[in-house]
């Protein structure tokens, strides 16, 4: 026998074992369903956005394709797939064609580390550096946008691409800084003082506190592993706000949708795209929205924790209950994601768009200092209370109170800052007016002689109603 045959046998057996193994099948099923979720999530979100916006704006939204217009986005996708692939002249072809893929790939890659339920997740989910990975992926998006802006050979696209580069890089900083305090919290809460940046571990901190009133099965079912009072949104509400604001900016959503500001830049970096390439950008954008919402849900809202999940997936339960518990967890997680996406939509219907320089000011002068102050404050407060020898619970309560106060202080400061900058902007006008008033006492209406009135006076006849 030659060595080749042995090798072939090994290769054959290995492949067979690999394909037929439970782990591989599990991976395939989970991968396909999560990939399917990423792809269809955009379609569902677009439809939801159109319907919710229509509801908020007193109109119907899509109505005719399918029952209640439910198939509208399906039809749209079909149309986009079948469209002719149009290239403008003199584009930088390689960059132009590559840009949508470069934009979409990191978004899909981000989903690799999201734990969807205690059991359902891709092999990347236990990654110890989950947050860092997610942030890295979300920063890669900007490359695709710049490529699209440059490759299109269009001035609107170029301005859009450059704007978005500046914007995404600026908002990356407060986004990361707002997560630092969460990591600090985990290091404080852990006995050994080592923090974690693994997503699943951070989630566990928000549901590890076992329900104190054990005994009553109903209460156990609801509150086992579902402890909303331990969610980080209560301890760090300011960070949720800042993270979410930066998320809006990262995903180019209103009011930070400058790169594709329709009224100024036609469609920004998307101007020259059509058909499937355009759809890929949209897919990436809505996928990004899902990612931001998912991270918010996991880091601040307890991820997939909800009534019944921990109870049903406890080690002793039967396999049927385990499956049900996992599906329940999936449901809670996706519900939280879509509720947060709903906030995206709500914001979009409400707010006008910021100007590019105001956008930068907001990031560099307000968000970054606030997050830095928050980091310092969290650390200082811990050191202070630790020196006094109080327990972690008291620390969390104090931190929460301080953070809620900071949240309202933040609102106050932001409104003051906008008022102040507005006042600065109006100042020349006010001075000019004062000068005018000083020169001429009254620049009021030059009153012209009124023409003599024609005979329409006198009491009118009775109302003709």
């Amino acid at each position: 026998m030659s060595g080749g045959v042995v090798l072939a046998e090994v290769w054959w057996e290995q492949l067979l074992h690999g394909i037929l193994s439970w782990e591989f099948l599990e991976f395939v099923v989970v991968f396909v369903s999560i990939f399917g979720f990423v792809m269809t999530s955009a379609v569902i979100l677009i439809l939801a956005e159109r319907k919710v916006m229509a509801w908020m704006q007193d109109r119907y939204g899509p109505l005719h394709t399918g029952p209640w217009g439910l198939l509208q986005t399906v039809a749209d996708v079909g149309k986009l797939l079948l469209k002719e692939d149009i290239h403008a002249g003199k584009i930088d072809k390689a960059i132009f064609i590559l840009a949508p893929s470069v934009f979409l790939a990191p978004v899909i890659a981000s989903f690799a580390v999201l734990p969807f339920s205690p059991y359902i997740s891709l092999p990347g989910a236990p990654l110890a550096t989950g947050i860092v990975y997610l942030i890295a992926m979300s920063s890669l998006d900007v490359v695709g946008v710049i490529m699209a802006g440059w490759g299109s050979n269009n001035k609107y696209a170029l301005i859009g691409g450059l704007r978005s580069a500046a914007q995404m890089i600026s908002y990356e900083l407060p986004l990361v800084l707002s997560l630092v305090s969460i990591v600090m919290l985990t290091s404080i809460l852990r006995d050994n003082g080592l923090g974690t940046i693994a997503i699943k571990d951070i989630m566990n901190f928000q549901m590890a506190q076992s329900w104190p009133g054990k005994g009553n099965p109903v209460w156990d079912f609801i509150f086992e592993g579902f402890t909303p009072w331990a969610w980080f949104i209560l301890v760090q509400p300011l960070l949720v706000l800042i993270y979410y604001t930066c998320g809006l900016a990262e995903t180019n959503r209103s009011p930070f949708d400058l790169p594709e500001a329709e009224s100024e830049l036609v469609a920004g970096y998307l101007t020259e795209y059509s058909g499937m390439r355009w759809a890929l950008f949209f897919l990436g954008e809505y996928g990004n929205m899902t990612i931001v919402s998912a991270i918010t849900a996991m880091l601040f809202l307890g991820g997939w924790s909800g009534p019944g999940v921990a109870f049903l997936t406890a080690p002793g339960m039967a396999i049927g209950w385990q499956v049900l518990g996992n599906l329940l967890a999936l449901f809670y997680f996706i519900l939280k994601i879509y509720l947060l996406c709903g906030v995206f939509i709500w914001v979009r219907t409400t707010l006008p768009r910021l100007r590019a320089d105001q956008l930068m000011q907001f990031a560099w002068l307000i968000l970054i200092p606030t997050t830095l102050v928050n980091i310092v404050l969290t650390g200082a407060l811990y050191l202070l209370l630790n020196a006094l020898g109080v327990s972690n619970v008291v620390f969390l309560v104090v931190l929460g109170v301080v953070n809620w106060l900071m949240l309202f202080g933040f609102f106050w400061v932001v409104s003051r800052a906008t008022t102040a900058s507005t006042r600065r902007a109006v100042a020349p006008a006010v001075r000019a007016r004062q000068r005018l008033v000083a020169l001429a006492p009254s620049p009021a209406a030059p009153r012209l002689p009124e023409p003599e009135r024609a005979g329409v006076t006198g009491a009118g006849a009775s109302s003709g109603r």
């Binding site: 050979n153 009224s263 105001q358 006008a429």
Partner: protein, 383 residues
Amino acid sequence: MATNQGVNRPPLEGVAPGELRSEEMILNMGPQHPSTHGVLRLVLTLEGETVVDCTPVIGYLHRGIEKILENRTVMAGIRYMDNADYLSPMLNETAYVGAVEQLMGIEPPRRAQYIRLITNELQRIASHLVAIGTYLLDLGAFTPILWTFRDREGILSLFEALGGSRFNVNYMRVGGVLHDFPKGWLQQCEAWCNQFEKNLQELETLITGNEIFEARTQGVGYVDSQQAIAYGLTGPMLRASGVNWDLRVNRPYMAYREIKVNPQVRQEGDCYARYRVRMQEMAESLRLVRVAMDQLPGGPISTRTPIALRPPRGETYFAIESSKGELGIYFISDGSEYPWRAKIRGPSFVNLQILPELLRGHKMSDVVAILGSLDIVLGEVDR
């Protein structure tokens, strides 16, 4: 469009190879651009995102309305006035028939004057609703335009009941109006007013006081009162700069001689002030509509005028306060059925002239903020 990369670009002069040089960029905004309100073309010279210079190019919507008027009898010409400022046809018609009446010395009956006032004020509201809706759309807010168009829809339905057509109403006649109010029209209008009062409040809550909106508009596009008068601005543009000048008050015509108007004036002179003036004018117009409906006199709706209308030889200028400013008709008659000349003094055209002056030094995002606050209608600019 020029290239922004090295594909077909000749080597730059005066720059050594390997060296970078920045240059001003010329950007053609329009005529097919979402926020140039029709077909205005702005040739912007940009330094980065700052506007260095701006040249508005107009004429893409020129239909020769003034020439058409010369070739139509006076009565047939009224219909063409609808298309001048296509957001306020009633006001255009009023200006045109007002000029003819002034030349012929006709005084329309009181009821006709009141009907004209009601329709004019409704039209003013409709025009301002479009102005505010599109303005907020330019600034990136999506909802207001749909809310404002919902309310405008009510006005157009009222006009449809009145003249048979939603838009090109062709309702005014020399010496009066076409029809009296149909049965139930006033109740319908009253109901619309009540609804609109609530909706206006809602709109005010949504927009006014929004910090992003204020940051975008306050201090942007400042016009002081001297400048405003020097450029011949009229309407909300002028009143937002602190000049108390409203033709309905200062040179009252028709029923405005009996119903007093409170002119809405603001001192700031920026985009925000223009927005506020329009909002306040809508509330004021609503009040005027209600007052006019309360005091509506009976009687005929039109004087008897000959079918072949021959204005006497002579010339006259008649101006009304349109939604955008002073809408004047300079009417010259040679005594025939056809006007020898009918010059339209469109407020949009005059107000547009200040645009380059306002844009210089502002950011590119402010271009749409300022252009939207002028509230121009290209149909009237190009005529």
